[in-house]
């Protein structure tokens, strides 16, 4: 819009001051008890208050300045938001580039452990490959699995972590009680999780949207409570330890003549196992991605997307919604089960505290922030959230600024929650909100997410 067509703008000081004063007063009211005082138990276990009025002053002043500036410099003519445009030619080219970008990404991931090993040596790279590489990839896998349920089929599942738990406990229990090897347990864990996916999916077939979300949340919590309290089987809160470590298709990663290193004529190093686990998760994640992308073009994948857009239309066209929903639940759960088995093998310890609602919410945040339905977006969001929160652990330097009591990791979920709110308000469809139709005439054209109608979920 040409700037010249406006009258010279007058800075509206009065309304800005009033608005800022209101916002500051609200902030004072919000800050008054929670920020101003901290209730701490003293030596005799009595609560005493420690005041923090300087923090309150700082918060109120910040809000005042921000609100003042935002009113002062806000556009005075509130034009109607521009209608969503169809993607420009550049956007189409970008999605074409995404193919090369993802191939490049895969190449980078394959090279990642080797580069880390070269940069930091065998001991220093352990943290990067294990905490960053494997953990992020497990979450990418979980994100892609949940993406089938939430992104493709449009069924909001808040209890997804239950299937992750089923996978992890399957491997933990089968390997410690019956001595099954990881390679037998992996498919079994996946299948058991898929079975539970169908079991929990079946009763909720009639539910949609918010109700479905709450019931899946309830199921997730029930499974966690059972895992906590069924001590005879699961050892309760203390969890199951000494889960057998992963082997290289039967060759254990141990020092000595029977180990992996001796067999291939290498010097023994514990990092071999971690690198192998990294490639295993990478392979499983890529398999998930490949299967999802292929399924999208099959009738079942199209039925999922049709279900997401409009269930009633879907049903009136003769699509069997029962099968459609159950396959989505089962496949999503299968992926979570596989990821759970890998998780148990990585930690060699599982306990119910790893499978709380917060974990479900984190995975959901990954899917939502990435853009439901977008594989690349989910991978980017997982890297951002999990990698970012791991990086927070690295920020010990901040302690020098904020004092020793400052622990950056406790801000992790605070930021995640805030990001979810901001993302929904700013881009309700996530980072990558472009839909690529799986069926098209002549030429594949991506659709801006805002143009796609989304039904009741």
């Amino acid at each position: 819009m040409p700037e010249a067509s406006h009258k010279p703008r007058r800075l509206a000081l009065r309304p800005a001051l009033i608005g800022a004063a209101k916002a500051a007063a609200l902030m004072l009211g919000l800050a008054f008890p929670l920020l101003a005082y901290r209730a701490e138990a003293d030596f005799s276990n009595q609560l005493v208050l420690q005041s923090r009025w300087s923090a309150v002053l700082f918060a109120v002043a910040t809000v005042f300045v921000l609100r003042f500036a935002s009113i002062l410099f806000a556009r005075q003519d509130k034009a109607a938001p521009p209608a969503p445009k169809n993607p420009s030619a550049m956007l189409i080219r970008l999605t074409g580039l995404a193919r090369f970008a993802s191939l490049g990404g895969i190449a980078c991931l394959i090279a990642f452990p080797i580069v880390m090993l070269a940069l930091f040596g065998a001991a220093g790279s352990l943290k990067w490959i294990d905490n960053f590489g494997i953990q992020i990839l497990i979450y990418v896998m979980l994100g892609w699995g949940l993406n089938i349920v939430v992104g493709l089929a449009g069924l909001l599942d808040l209890g997804y972590v239950a299937f992750y738990a089923v996978g992890a406990y399957s491997y933990a229990l089968l390997s410690t009680t019956w001595g099954w090897s990881f390679w037998i347990c992996l498919p079994v864990a996946g299948l058991l999780a898929a079975f539970w996916g169908v079991m929990l999916g079946f009763p909720v077939l009639r539910l949609r949207g918010d109700y479905l979300a709450i019931v899946t949340l309830a199921f997730g919590e029930i499974i966690r409570i059972v895992l906590t309290n069924w001590t005879a089987l699961t050892n309760g809160d203390s969890g199951i330890g000494s889960i057998p470590r992963i082997s290289f298709f039967g060759l254990p990663f141990v020092a000595g003549p029977s180990g992996f290193a001796a067999h291939f004529g290498l010097a023994y190093a514990p990092i071999h196992r971690v690198i192998f686990l990294f490639y295993l998760v990478l392979a499983l994640a890529l398999l998930t991605n490949f299967v999802t992308l292929r399924l999208r073009r099959l009738p079942i994948g199209r039925a999922w997307e049709a279900l997401r857009e409009d269930e009633i239309a879907c049903r009136s066209l003769g699509i069997d919604t029962v099968t459609t929903k159950l396959t989505a639940f089962a496949l999503g759960a299968l992926v979570a089960g596989l990821a759970g088995a890998v998780f148990a093998a990585r930690q060699n310890f599982v306990s119910p505290s790893s499978f709380t609602f917060l974990e479900s919410a984190t995975i959901l945040a990954i899917v939502v922030l990435g853009g439901r339905g977008s594989q690349l977006g989910v991978a980017l969001a997982a890297t951002g959230i999990i990698g970012g929160s791991e990086l927070l652990r690295e920020l010990d330097g901040l302690k020098r600024i904020f004092g020793d009591a400052f622990d950056p990791t406790q801000y992790r979920m605070l930021i995640v929650g805030f990001a979810m709110v901001v993302m929904m308000n700013w881009k309700p469809r996530g980072l990558i909100a472009i839909r690529t139709p799986s069926i098209f005439l002549f030429k594949r054209k991506p659709i801006v997410g805002a143009l796609a109608k989304e039904g009741h979920g």
Binding site: G29, R38, V204, D210, V215, I225, N229, E454
Partner: protein, 305 residues
């Protein structure tokens, strides 16, 4: 029989707390059709506000009269919690009206995580426990193997709940605000055409819901005397269960549902296993939604194409 009577008393006490929280869920769902997932955490925030306000009154201002403190804390917590709820509605939900259906829910989940972690950061991870107040106990039955007791606390909780619910009922039924609220619930577009400020009414709905949750928070603090920043989730889900059981959108349903959930939970703990008492509540939620989605008093959900 004595155990039954005792559990009945405990169940009604717990149920009134759930009922107060459930009203917030049911009102918001009635008016904008979303599950305000952060409501449980608003309740948790209010318990912290109540705790700190009580400590500030007794330690800094040196107030000694217990009834005065109780009323001051109750009013203070109601006002300050309302501010939180108002802020949440403005920042997290208002822009999402008319967006696709899952957007407000996801925003609410984000808000819930944000609130519980904010309190965690601001107040620390430890449980906060308060000195027990109103400790007098009345013996209801004596002799036999089991004495049934009724504490002053419990009477106070039920009485305050009843009083506030009566006031709330008058507010919804008799005032112009309540009329506007009910009109928006029936048809917000029509209400807007008739000159009702829908945005303001929705804000007020959030504020009223939060004020009642704050009452629940004060009573919870009084009853249990201990709170933690993660304590919003489970009571929140249970209160939501209560709202669903009573029929979401129905105010008497929410209170009745709350009482039922409170009773079921205490009887389950007494006769079966207290480890699995949350499983009981969650199972009721699932079973109600699957077999009786409109609850006890709810209107059936008719979908027009």
């Amino acid at each position: 029989m004595e155990i039954f009577l005792q559990q009945l008393i405990n169940g009604v006490t717990l149920g009134s707390i759930y009922g107060l929280i459930a009203i917030g869920y049911t009102m918001v769902f009635g008016i904008i059709g979303m599950v305000n997932f952060a409501h449980g955490d608003v309740f948790m925030v209010s318990t912290f506000i109540a705790l700190i306000a009580f400590l500030a009154l007794t330690q800094i201002l040196g107030a000694t009269s217990l009834p005065f403190c109780f009323i001051a804390v109750l009013i203070g917590a109601m006002v300050l919690t309302s501010l939180w709820s108002y802020m949440i509605e403005r920042l997290a939900y208002r822009r999402l009206r008319g967006s696709f259906r899952l957007a407000p829910l996801i925003s609410a989940i984000g808000m819930s995580i944000f609130l519980s972690n904010l309190v965690y950061v601001l107040q620390g991870p430890r449980n906060k426990s308060m000195p027990p107040l109103f400790n007098d106990v009345i013996q209801v039955t004596q002799g036999g193997g089991y004495d049934v007791t009724l504490s002053v606390k419990q009477i106070l909780i039920v009485a305050v709940t009843a009083l506030l619910l009566a006031g709330f009922w008058l507010l919804v039924q008799k005032t112009s605000l309540g009329r506007a609220q009910r009109a928006c619930e029936q048809d917000s577009r029509m209400a807007a055409l008739l000159g009702i400020d829908v945005d303001r009414t929705i804000s007020l709905t959030f504020v009223i819901g939060a004020a009642l949750a704050a009452v629940a928070g004060v009573l919870y603090m009084l009853y249990y005397g201990v709170v933690n920043s993660s304590d919003g989730f489970i009571p929140g889900v249970k209160a939501f269960t209560a709202a669903v059981l009573g029929g979401i959108g129905s105010l008497p349903g929410a209170v009745l549902g709350g009482l039922l959930i409170g009773l079921i939970e205490t009887f389950w703990s007494a006769y079966f296993s207290s480890d699995y008492k949350d499983v009981a509540a969650f199972s009721i939620l699932a079973v109600t939604l699957i077999f009786m989605p409109s609850g006890l008093f709810g209107r059936p959900d008719v979908e027009k194409v």
